[in-house]
Symmetry: C2
Subunit: 389 residues, 2 copies
């Protein structure tokens, strides 16, 4: 495991302190990134109900999941055997019973039947049915919204986490260089993405690649107006813009980046936008120093791009770190008007200043670390609109 046990101990101690402050006795968290954060658990098993359970008065959490995943829990966590609890396979996709029935019974057997249970109400892998089943199985417990407790805790990174993101950045650099190299008129989008996946997965000297929380977003031509459109089998064309948004991943930590290429001389609208975004990003990074707020960063960016005649209604960034599908964002602060979250050293954001109009778009983004001097990008890749003639 990349992280020392002390790293996990610190995370759990902080988590329990927040639970105590919020009056939560038991926290049930099914977010795979949060599960990884507090235990190291890593598996593609989040498509069925599972959770990490943290107790305010117990040192170790419980990993709760499906029987076939017990070996994965043993191999990727340091939890003791009696803190790994599984349900039998007849609970999987069964309309008459639910895995959360088992978890409820377990918690009652632990003396938690009348305790205050914190749930994450906006977690993708904790469905309404999960909550219904759990509540029905613990009729005397009080259920409260934990309010993304662990997500907020992930906002400020430890030095070891910064190191993991720095490793991911080396892979990001390799992927984006591959992007610049492979896109040519006549190359099919799927073949370009095949090269990107290979770079992302092999990694670089000394850093093996891991799976990313999202597919490589390769947007081409009119598709540059649609930030989440998957690639196709169409060939790239001269006169088209091509956007890539992706991330290298190391020890589950991401370092996302977006760049834009134009095959042939770019139209003035795109050149102008690229100058605006680059100048705007520089202004945003300068303001992204400890003590300023999230909305300060956005305001600095908006002021610059306004001079270029550009507007962007969507937020310009969000915190990142550990990621599992469907996304690498941490779902807490946003770089946008009205978000007064104060910046603290070692917060890490993806400054995602993509602009998507009706029939064109541009993305030039940076993942940066907050310091006392401003935002410092992790990856070093030329940010100009990359023109291939």
């Amino acid at each position: 495991m990349f992280f020392d046990q002390s790293e996990y101990d610190n995370r759990l101690t902080d988590c329990r302190q927040t639970m105590e402050r919020k009056g939560i006795d038991v926290l049930i968290d099914s977010d795979p990134a949060n599960m990884n954060y507090v235990t190291g658990y890593d598996g593609w098993s989040f498509y069925i109900p599972q959770a990490v359970v943290i107790f305010v008065d117990r040192d170790q959490p419980i990993w709760f999941g499906r029987g076939v995943d017990i070996s994965g829990a043993r191999l990727t966590t340091r939890l003791s055997e009696n803190n790994i609890v599984v349900y039998t396979d007849d609970y999987v996709h069964n309309t008459t019973k639910h895995p959360m029935d088992v978890l409820g019974e377990l918690l009652i057997s632990y003396g938690c039947g009348s305790k205050t249970i914190g749930l994450e109400h906006d977690c993708n892998y904790f469905t309404p049915l999960c909550r219904d089943a759990l509540q029905a199985s613990m009729p005397n417990a009080e259920f409260v919204d934990a309010g993304k407790l662990v997500n907020w805790q992930r906002l400020i990174k430890s030095d070891a986490e910064i190191e993991a993101i720095s490793s991911a950045a080396r892979i990001t650099e390799k992927i984006v260089q591959t992007f610049f190299d492979v896109v040519e008129p006549g190359v099919r989008q799927c073949d370009a993405v095949a090269a990107l996946y290979a770079a992302q997965t092999s990694g670089v000297e000394g850093v093996s690649g891991e799976f990313c929380a999202a597919i490589p977003m390769l947007l081409c031509g009119r598709g540059t107006s649609a930030p989440h459109l998957p690639w196709s089998g169409e060939a790239l064309k001269s006169g088209e813009a091509i956007i890539l948004e992706t991330s290298g991943v190391s020890h589950r930590y991401h370092c996302p980046m977006a760049r834009t290429v134009h095959l042939g001389p770019p139209p003035e609208v795109l050149s102008n936008a690229s100058r605006g975004v680059i100048e705007g990003n520089a202004a945003a990074l300068e303001v992204a120093k400890a003590g300023n707020t999230c909305e300060d960063v956005e305001a600095a960016w908006r002021e610059v791009i306004g001079k270029y005649g550009l507007v962007k209604e969507s937020r310009i960034g969000y915190p990142i770190g550990i990621g599992y599908p469907p996304d690498w964002g941490e779902h807490t602060a946003s770089l946008r008007q009205g978000d007064r979250t104060e910046l603290v050293p070692n917060m890490v954001f993806h400054l995602m200043t993509g602009i998507w109009m009706d029939d064109w778009g541009i993305e030039i983004s940076e993942t940066f670390r907050v310091t006392d001097q401003g935002g410092v990008p992790f990856a070093s890749v030329p940010n100009a609109l990359h023109v291939k003639n």
Copy 2:
């Protein structure tokens, strides 16, 4: 688009008939596979709230999503412009308001404020908070569990869907052949997976590859006991077993397959298990004909593997088709004891007879179509334990 409009019209007609039978006026579905099934929508945007809304008394559904994804909805569906409705970006990850507030107001403006609204209570991308917000915004509506209405509808494939899965099978064959070719002692797991991703993404002559609902599951050595463990940067070793479970994808349809390789002469326990699984799979396919039930298939398999001294507690298969992360399963029937779902021609299952013990495992699986004569696999790949000396 691969499918004719008539295919979507048929799907919607069937869906509305089931809604009528169940007394549901409006169905809200956030499952990306279901959204694709009824509209063709395809985008990596499911990490934030979105839905397809089907009305029992209106021809076209509504696509509801985030503003930045409007272009993606226009490019991947045939919906008319007024059936694509978006919310503004300030609703994204905002603790004071929720996208489902907007959907609730919209439905009230459509005269649905007192109607019966069907929800999918066990959909990964429809969180408890989504349901809470929607219910709060429509205080006079009646909310009912739609019970995976669209998922069940997907169980029997049209001829066009069978064609899509057949295309995916060609890519599956290429990926598995690549797997047999690249695994060698000394090759890093991540480099082997890089080759698999490249094969999956490039596709084959005439069929470009698409993203898969899951990562290539490459399990090595002791990791073969853990079916959902991600690959690492470790080198493959002589004397180890290596399992791959993955899928080619075409037009969003999957054709999963698992195969097992052994580097060097295999231990008897693995050779025995491979013979048992292969004979068991053949027995299962023979029984997987129209008129039999899901549990009949499992019983036939279990009887065979019992002779080899093997047991498997988890189900041996599930229906597949359209897939988005986190999985390619349809979450309806299961090939297991007690499931009396009757098999009908053109149902498609992944016969996933993986066995995972404490320190070893084996997977040899097939995706098959139900016919009157039995289960017919889509992909043609030798199923023996593949020994590389």
